[in-house]
């Protein structure tokens, strides 16, 4: 037997056995196990495909079958780890039910959610996992995964799921393609001609493959930047001021060095947030922008040109992206921060008591941030020592989320 096929089959058998072992874990809710079932079926199919490969097939067919199966392992092994870590007690399980409720109000009642404490500092979401349709997988950094003040960052990650569900890549794709070609041929032609002298203007205008291989990078950057901007705006729509505060807590002032090409640079990202805050009537402190440090632009000339082209195109999309978020919010039952409700929750927290009725997750998180930033909180409560303030506030927030969820459930069964 061809040893390459044999290795490939054994690798897939090994991961299928691992999935069976993972199913024995104690998951606090059912969706991780559902995901394991789906992935088990996918690898069963992968195994069946490998069984069909004849050792007499051309090398190209054998290599493709085997390398595709290796690729699946690179893709899915981290996801299996993610699913396992969703059972870790480091997660704040109190937040799961309210977040699932919010997720389903946005993405539909059959959506499945897995939240995991991850050993990567940046919150993230796994998406486009074809074999997990209807699943949203959100990872939060382990040191903060039990911190309810940072739940608003999940709003950005939910934005990615909405972007995909609404097929915005296709919706904005043509606009971005046209924008890139226009930017190259109208505004940046001399720079492109100098860097790529073999490609003439008509190659771009006629949509030739030779030009496409150049501008597709700028297109990819612009599309990803547009998605990230959308997600920031979406997170802010879900959690209002609490989103900006959590965003600042997580990354301000930023990390020195070259920016990511897949995001707007930090300066622009914050400016777009400010622009959206106006449209969403979210209050922003005057000093907010000054708390973030500008990042370096790429030095390498081709990347620099392609990124700056993408920047111009994604920046022009911001008004449209704000409109999309507003439209989505209008078409769903998405709670909006209500100042009066936030005040009520704050009043309870001020007396060191959690909520005693149902409040939206948005109001509870905004109340939490409001209290967190109040230097006078519990000044007259000697039993709450200064060093315990943060922990007590977080416990009150988590308990309030649980109480609100209990009220929601009892309302549903009545």
């Amino acid at each position: 037997m061809d040893i390459t096929i044999d290795h490939a089959r054994k690798r897939i058998a090994a991961i299928r056995a691992e999935i069976e072992r993972l199913k024995q874990s104690e998951f606090p809710y059912t969706h991780p196990r559902d995901a394991l079932d789906q992935l088990g079926k996918m690898f069963e199919r992968q195994q069946a495909v490998l069984e069909k490969v004849s050792p007499n097939a051309p090398a190209s067919v054998i290599f493709t079958a085997c390398s595709t199966s290796v690729y699946q392992l690179f893709v899915y092994v981290p996801i299996l780890g993610f699913i396992l870590r969703s059972a870790n007690v480091r997660n704040a399980f109190e937040t799961y039910a309210p977040l699932l409720r919010l997720t389903r109000s946005i993405l539909g009642p059959d959506t499945k959610l897995i939240i995991s404490s991850e050993w990567a500092y940046s919150p993230h979401v796994y998406q486009s996992i074809t074999d997990l349709p209807g699943f949203v997988l959100i990872g939060l950094p382990a040191p903060e995964s039990a911190n309810p003040l940072l739940i608003p960052l999940a709003g950005h990650e939910l934005g990615h799921a909405v972007w995909k569900a609404e097929n915005y890549s296709t919706k904005f794709g043509k606009q971005i393609e046209d924008g890139i070609l226009k930017e190259i041929t109208n505004n940046r032609w001399k720079e492109y001609e100098a860097l790529f002298p073999q490609v003439k203007k008509e190659h771009y205008l006629n949509n030739d493959i030779i030009a496409r291989t150049i501008w597709i990078a700028a297109y990819t950057y612009a599309l990803r930047q547009a998605e990230e901007i959308f997600c920031d705006i979406f997170g802010m729509r879900l959690f209002s001021e609490a989103y900006l505060r959590a965003f600042e807590y997580l990354i301000a002032p930023g990390v020195p060095g070259e920016r990511s090409v897949l995001y707007p640079n930090m300066e622009r990202r914050v400016l777009h947030l400010m622009e959206a805050a106006k449209a969403l009537t979210v209050s922003v402190e005057a000093t907010f922008t000054s708390r973030f440090k500008a990042e370096d632009e790429p030095r390498e000339s081709t990347t620099k040109l392609l990124v700056s082209t993408a920047d111009a195109v994604s920046a022009a999309l911001v008004p449209d992206l704000i409109t999309q978020v507003l439209d989505i919010a209008l078409s769903r039952v998405i709670p909006q921060r209500a100042f009066a409700k936030v005040e009520e929750v704050c009043a309870g927290f001020g007396k060191v008591i959690p909520t005693t009725m149902a409040y939206s997750v948005t109001d509870i998180l905004n109340a939490g941030w409001s209290c967190y930033l109040n230097d006078d909180l519990w000044k007259n409560y000697q039993q709450v020592q200064e060093e315990n303030r943060g922990r007590v506030l977080k416990d009150l927030m988590l308990k309030s989320l649980e109480v609100s969820e209990a009220f929601e459930r009892s309302r549903e069964v009545q």
Partner: protein, 152 residues
């Protein structure tokens, strides 16, 4: 609202970011090879891929030029796959690329794909190239996001 993107195989088009596409294209290559060698007559993956190709290109009955329904990244990946399968000297025109893709799609959905062995071998090579091109594209995107500064 439906959370999943198009899941009806009859309407699904090619998408460079479809995680299932490399496996489907690879399986189609295996099935074509088995057809060519008379080892089996399994056509499911071949038909699914043919449907995706057909759903990605608009063919006008009035004789208007073919129109891509793919996003730019998918069109680029498809172009890469067609060029790899065709070898040196392949055309650089989108119209020719779409015509070639339609030709491959027609071969893949033929009632008797084995009646033209040369075309079927070409379709197999295309499936191999498509699987590789999609994975290469996924890698090119993930390589833009380094996971850790000191991770090697």
């Amino acid at each position: 609202m439906s959370y999943a993107l198009e899941t009806d195989p009859a309407r699904k088009g090619l998408r460079a970011l479809d995680l299932e596409l490399p496996l489907l294209a690879s399986e189609a290559a295996i099935d074509i090879d088995n057809l060519l060698s008379n080892r089996s007559k399994e056509l499911t993956a071949i038909r699914l891929l043919a449907d995706q190709l057909k759903n990605s290109i608009e063919i006008s009955s009035s004789g208007a030029p073919l129109r891509s329904l793919m996003d730019p990244a998918t069109l680029t990946v498809l172009g890469d796959a067609v060029a790899r399968a065709a070898g040196e000297g392949y055309t650089k025109k989108i119209d020719d690329l779409l015509a070639e893709a339609v030709k491959i799609g027609t071969e893949l959905s033929s009632d008797d794909p084995t009646k033209n062995i040369t075309e079927l071998e070409r379709a197999r090579d295309f499936c191999v190239a498509l699987s590789m091109a999609v994975v290469a594209y996924h890698k090119s995107i993930s390589d833009l996001s380094p996971q850790h500064p000191f991770r090697r």
